[in-house]
Amino acid sequence: MTTASVTSPAKIRPRGRGLFWAGIGLCLLGIALTVVQYNLLGWLMVPWYSPILATLGAGLLLYAVVQRRSVSRIIGLCLVAALAGFQWYMLGFMAKLPDYQGPARVGQKLPPFQTTLADGRQLTERELQDGTASVLVFYRGRW
């Protein structure tokens, strides 16, 4: 009497699957690091690493698509590439500020102005000539 041995077929991982997920991961890593940088660490600097990581991620996804073409990989590549492109545009162009061209000149008196404090009192340039130095911080508002 003979016994038949039953072996399950070895699972074959689709080629480039690791690259696909590594590409997605790099893209998400850039976003996660940006959130950590601003919200947890409070480092207020330009997160150039985020578009760099997204671009690297898009490169890995492209390689994964070359290895094995599928709808999900192509969609992933398009999304990550679009996100990388948006980030480059955002940081490279949209976020760019012009050089300061205003009338406040180093070595000269602050020009006349009148504005309002949070408590409703008026503030003019004369209040800033009382012997105490001032740091004027122009911020962008609550959001």
Partner: protein, 118 residues
Amino acid sequence: MIELGQLEAKHSDFQKRNVRILAISLEDQDTVKPTQESFPNLIVVADAERGLANEQGLSEALEVIHPGSGPDGDTAAPTTILVDGSGTVRWVYRPDRFFRRLSPEEVLAAVDEHMPAG
């Protein structure tokens, strides 16, 4: 608001140098009241009328921050200006991108460099 929180946390270092901090936005008085309550050691300015922002030439930057917003836009370009006790401008800093802000340590270093007498 991260920037203001950091400045608030370090306000005693500025106080030691006889330096006050004015936080200026283009918001109205009602909007900045909670900001003033959150940061009691800063002097919060509600420059909705743009009496200060226009004098500082900031309105030109609005078009760049929010293309199309024009001079009626609601945000100002982040800028830091040091003024000594006589009202003379000692230093003007504007980052090249609006994601960038000065840390309190960088502002203090600028104070020490450009206004050594405090």
